[in-house]
Every structure is written in C-alpha cells, then in structure tokens.
Symmetry: C2
Subunit: 427 residues, 2 copies
C-alpha cells in the first residue's frame, strides 16, 4: 500500500529523529578519538573511495541519467557528475584533511586566578553537525572528513538528484572506518527526499548543535530564517571590484577580468565593477571590450553607457543581483566613499576588492568595507580555505557570529572552560 | 484619540525600525573610534551616572512604586531598585570596562602565501548589537559600555517595569558621550512596551547583527527559537555537583553548600547533588542536615530517602528543573559514568562540578561532561566574567556557536580577512 501524505511525512520525520539520536549517541565517542585513529580512518576513506570507485561511479551514473531525463541544466549535471579523476581529487582532499593539525584539545588561554583556581579554555568538538546541501556528491566526502577530524558526528541531507551517489559514498566511507572503532552513528545520511525531512532537521534542537546550509542563496536564506537550530549562513556573494583613480590600468583590468571570468559560477566572482569617475573615460574602454570579447554581458549606469557601446542599462535590481554567470554590472562612482557606500548598500559581505596605488585609499577601504574578505590589488576569487592556507572548508561564512570567511576545521569546534581547584568557594 | 490595536502595533514596529536605521548608520563611526576616545567616553559615563544620580534615582523610584502597586515579587523589586551605592558600583563597572584592552584591531593570525598575497585575520566590531533583557537597570549601563568599547552600536529592549529608570539612564549616558563625537545612534532604547516591538526586533535582519536575550530560561528560549536575527543563547543553568567516592567529605560538603546557598537565584547555582553510591550513607548525613538547617528543601531519589529524613521524593521533572531557589534535588548514582550520564541527560550545559581525589576520575569528568564550564574541586558559582579574569560580561553563553561561557568584550566582535596583493590573479 502507498502511504498517505501524512504517513510519508511522519515517517520522514521519524527517520531524521532516529538519525539525530544515533549521531548524538556517537558524538562523545568520536570526540574522544585519538588523532592517530582519526587520521588512519581518513586514509582508509581515501583508499576506499578509489578501491570501490566503480560502485560509486555506477550509482552516480544512475543519478546523471535521471538528471538528464529530468532535463536538469547542464552546469548542474556537470556538478553532479563523478569521474575517476574527480574521485581521485576527492580522495586527495581527504588525505589533506588527515595532514592538517587536529584542532581538538588546543588550549586557547589559561591563567591562575588570585584565589588559586586554574582556568583554561580548551577547544572541543561541536558535537553533532548537520549539513543541508545541493547535488554535489563531493561535499558528502568533504563534510564527513572535516567533521570526523574535528571530532563531530555528521548528519547529511544532500540534494535529491545525488541520492544514489550519496548512498554509495556513505556506504563506502562507513565501511572504511568501521574497523577503526568509529561508530555507525558518526555519519548519517537522510535517505528520504520528503520535504518534512528537511523541515524536521531544521528544528532538531535536541540532537543538533549546528546546521550549515550550503547551496543557492535562496536555499541558505530560507534555512537560516526558518531553523530553530543554530545555523551558519554560507555562500551569498554579490562581490565588487573598485578601480580607484590611482590604479594601474593593466593591473586593474587583469584583476577585474580574473574576478569575473575565471570561474563565473563561484560565489566570490565579481558581480559589479565600480569605476572611479576621473578615470572612467580612459579605463572603461580598456576593460569593457575585453569583457565583451570573453562573452560577458555588460549592464551599466548612465555614465558607463555614455562611454561604452553595447551596454544594457542597469536597473536598481542589477546592483543587488548575484548573477553567477557571464553578466557584469558596471557603475561609475564619484569617489572612494561613494564606492564604499555602494558596497555597503548592495553587497553581501563576502569578498570586496579595491585596485589602487594610494596607501590611504587602501587603508580606508579595508577599514570601512564590512565583508568577510577585503582585498587590495588582488582578485576576489582567492576567498577559499586552501588559498587562505586554512585547508579544506565547508563553505564561506558570510555571517558575523562564530566564524567569518572560509569554514575549516576550527569552525567545526567550540570551547569549554576547565576550572581546577582545591576546594575554592565563592564569597 | 486612542490608537487602535493595529495602529499601536504598527507604530511600535516603526519605532524599532527607526532605531535599527539609526544604529546601523552610527555603527561605522563607532567602529572607527580610537581607543582613547572610547575610554574617555566611558569615564564620562561613569562620572555622569554619579553626578546625575538624583535624576536616575527619582525615575527609578517611580518604577519601584509602580512595581509595588503591581505587587511584583520581592526579589524582582530588589533587582529593579537602585540606590546611591548601587549606582556607585555600576559606575565602577564602567571604569573597569575602560581599563580593559580594546579588542578591536587585534591581528589574530596572518601569513604570506606562496603567491605573495599577505593575508591577515583582524578582529572587528560586530556592528549593531541588540539586547532583550528584564528589569535590571544595571544591564542598561553594562550593555552600552561593553558595546561601545567593542565598537558596536546598541539597541536595548529593557523590561517594561524598568522603563523610567532606563529612559533616565540612557538620557544621561547619551549626553555624557555626545561631546566625544559619539553619534546618538550608538545607543537606542526601545521606549515602547508593545509586544510588537520585541517581535519586530527579533526579525530586524536588515539592521541587527546579533540579538542577545538575557533573562529567564523561558524568555531566552522563546527569543532564540523565534528570532531570524542570529542570537546567542544565554543563561539557563541546571547545574550539578558530583561527590565522587574518593572526595574529602569536608571539602565536598563546603563546595556543595556554597554552590547551593551562596546566592541561590543565580544561574550557576547547583540544582542537583549527585552522590556516589559507596559514600552515600556516610556523606548524605553530613550535607543533608546542613542544607536543611540553611532552609534548603531536599527532594531525593529513593536511595537518598532511605538515608535521610524529611526528604520529599524527587520526580523525573525535578531532575530537569532549574529551581533558582532554596530547593535541591539529590540523587545517589552507581558510579562516575552514571553521574556523567545524568548530567548529559538533564543538564543545561552551563556549569558542572566533580569533587574527587582521583586523578583519572577528574580527567574523565572534564573530558566527558559537555558544558561551558567544568569544575574539579570548586564551587560552580565561579562561572562569571570577573572570576574568570575576562572582565564584565553580557551573560553566560550556553550555546556552542560563537562564544561559550562568559560573554565579555571579545564576544562582541567578529573577524575580517584583509588580503593585500600586487596584482595576484587566480589560475
């Protein structure tokens, strides 16, 4: 018998609760694992992903076929698709996590108080980390390796389009770590595609310590607004490059071009180019045609359109838009402060750049622009855990609490105060 | 004409939005203030609180009279009541904030990447901090001094019972800092007592960077669950003391007594005493009568009631309860692990203590108990910013994200990555 809608919803919720219960029971065991055991387990995962690659690729083939039948957009299918060489890169990523320092147990500060209490702040795992993400099966591996290394249990809710791939990957990873004494509860995949599963996960306060949504801006926003579990907002990126009047034109053009064209689907791609009024007539004719030659559609303010041809008028809406495509909004601003104001008003606090020769302009831009990463004379495309020297990450946090910028191993930890006494009482 | 309910609600919402707008406009100015200006302003505040103390005390008198007429409970009226000497202590607190190091601008880490990019992580203000609290006018002063020192604008929603006091205090503080060039927007008091004001504040994502509720467990929970603005959960404290079999009885009794009786209304007060089975018959007759003599009502498990007289039976409900009163639940546990299990199941992750002589018991307790502060051989009453050497705080965070334990100046900051290049492009 087919379950009724209510039954399907209730069973999806039960599935999530059961996953939560298992993860919570596993969490203290994972938290206490020695670093060497975690690293050995990570190497086992990397090996298993290659050894049992065929199994994963066959499952992935089913997902890709379904996606093609459902006529998913080409870039989405590309993100979903796994190959031997992609699996190799994913396994390398796991080995890199094994090579990173274990964040757990770090003593952050400590002191002996006048009354003799010895107080220390220690880094400890978060406990149970939930992740909601779209159809990129590599995230399944990244998430589990980072969570495991940081001593957490993970509950993953991947995209429905990647369900077969995710099941196969989770199965392979679980088996790989079993012989290291890592409990099954360490890695839970929500195998229901029912919306009630996501809904329940967002309110699983009794088991989840944090929920990280990773994907489109709309998905991330809606999870962060609806969830009662603490969340970390990742990913929106309406990024700007401001070419200040003292900038070297060749450097400015290279930076702007790289920031837009190198990989336009990434969140740290430039979406609006701001050009200082005094150089607009000279600089725009350099960068404009170069962008257009690379297939970039330009949408400009009036001043831009007086200087450049084939530029559509930009609307207020454009200044707010994260295109994630070969489209660029262009605006001529009166000066540095107007550029900063524009960024404050329309930006998403991800990555913002200035190109300049002026020391004081650089300093003011860095101080006044409120973003996870502020660049002077470099492409915004560098906002990334590896590029920052932090290693693999679970996304770029654009919120201000807990962690800002690339979310690596440390972001998956919290703190604990240990107070050692010999009978101290409070007066 | 009296406004209709809808008009009153809409006007409360407008008030909050206007406060948000002003605070957000003021935030970059406050963020850029030199440390010396902030410290001078704090000293001005301390002085003004004393110089214009009469005005504040008269306003407070009105609040107290209203509270008495409304027959508020005695401890609540006591918390609301200001005196010259309390004002003096509050002013001293402001001077202590001035004496603390400025957290803004601290370079947390930095490196030169192989490609020549110089990357630094810098501590910066959060921006706009919202605080919802109950009727303790001293929090109005603490909150503004901490926010100002950490470079933030503050929006305060104090208890309705303290409205007159808060208005007077805010007026005095605002005037005091005006001549230092600190904009009015730095400190916004929501002067409406309409519930729509709180409701709007919880969803003011466009202006608020964080919302901190401080007060009863119910209030904090409801704000954290309903708000779409990022929140920090403070305050619940169902704290335990576990007297392990190797504990010295006199030390254990002193610690337990202090943890329960020294100030029973505080969140880090012990609510349940756990006693190791092998010593129960000997230890309970020491601590039980001492507690009862101090007016503490005991509620025990069966084993406890077999040993002690005049002990009510404890229900499952009792293990969950934060009494904040002279009531103590008592349970005999089989061993260390059962004590840890009890704390995991019923505790609120605030402050937990073990009294023991056994090195390995202490170590296991510290590792396995998941709480903001874990104590060995000391009273849980020490969880406090000053006692930990962190200075004044805005509450004790019991959540795991962003900050855990006393929330001092650093908790009111976030981070920014500054990336300096010379034309670097991403491959």
């Amino acid at each position: 018998m087919t379950p009724t809608p209510d039954e399907a919803s209730a069973s999806a919720e039960l599935l999530v609760e059961e996953a939560g219960r298992r993860a919570k029971a596993a969490a203290p065991i994972i938290a206490a694992l020695p670093t060497s055991v975690k690293n050995d387990a990570l190497h086992d995962i990397a090996e298993a992903l290659l050894d049992q690659g065929d199994r994963i690729l066959i499952a992935n083939e089913r997902d890709v076929l379904n996606a093609e039948r459902a006529r998913l957009a080409e870039p989405l299918i590309d993100r979903l698709h796994l190959t031997r060489s992609r699996l190799g890169a994913i396994a390398d990523g796991v080995r890199e996590v094994a090579a990173q320092a274990d964040p757990v147990g770090e003593v952050l500060r400590g002191s002996r108080r006048p009354n003799g209490l010895v107080i220390q702040e220690i880094r400890v795992p978060l406990g149970v980390v939930g992740l909601i993400f779209e159809s990129r099966p590599n995230i399944t591996v990244d998430a589990f390796s980072l969570c495991l290394k940081a001593g957490n249990a993970a509950i993953l809710r991947g995209g429905v389009d990647a369900m077969e791939s995710n099941k196969a990957i989770v199965e392979v990873m679980r088996r790989a770590v079993q012989r290291r004494g890592i409990p099954e509860g360490a890695l839970q995949l929500i195998e229901s595609s029912h919306p009630s599963a996501t809904e329940r996960l967002m309110h699983l306060r009794e088991y989840l310590d944090v929920l990280i949504p990773r994907g489109s801006m709309e998905m991330v926003r809606s999870v962060c607004e609806a969830a009662t579990v603490p969340t970390v907002e990742t990913g929106a990126g309406n990024c700007h490059t401001f070419v200040e009047r003292t900038a070297r034109f060749d450097m400015a053009a290279d930076i702007a071009f790289n920031a837009k064209v190198q990989r336009p689907g990434m969140v740290n791609t430039m979406e609006t180019l701001l050009v200082d009024r005094p150089i607009a007539a000279e600089f725009l004719p350099i960068i404009g045609p170069r962008m257009q030659a690379a297939g970039v559609e330009l949408r400009g303010c009036e001043a831009t359109r007086e200087i450049l041809r084939n530029v559509k008028p930009a609307t207020e809406e454009d200044w707010y838009t994260e295109y994630l495509a070969l489209i660029l909004a262009v605006r001529v601003v009166e000066n540095l402060d107007q550029a900063i104001d524009h960024i404050s008003r329309y930006g998403s606090h991800n990555s913002e750049a200035i190109v300049t020769h002026d020391y004081f302009a650089a300093r003011r831009f860095c101080e006044r622009v409120d973003a996870a990463a502020v660049y002077v004379n470099a492409s915004t495309r560098f906002t990334d855990g590896f590029e920052f020297g932090l290693g693999a990450e679970l996304g770029i946090s654009t919120q201000k609490l807990h962690r800002r910028g690339p979310m690596g191993l440390r972001s998956l930890t919290t703190w604990k105060w240990i107070v050692q006494g010999e009978g101290q009482l409070r007066d």
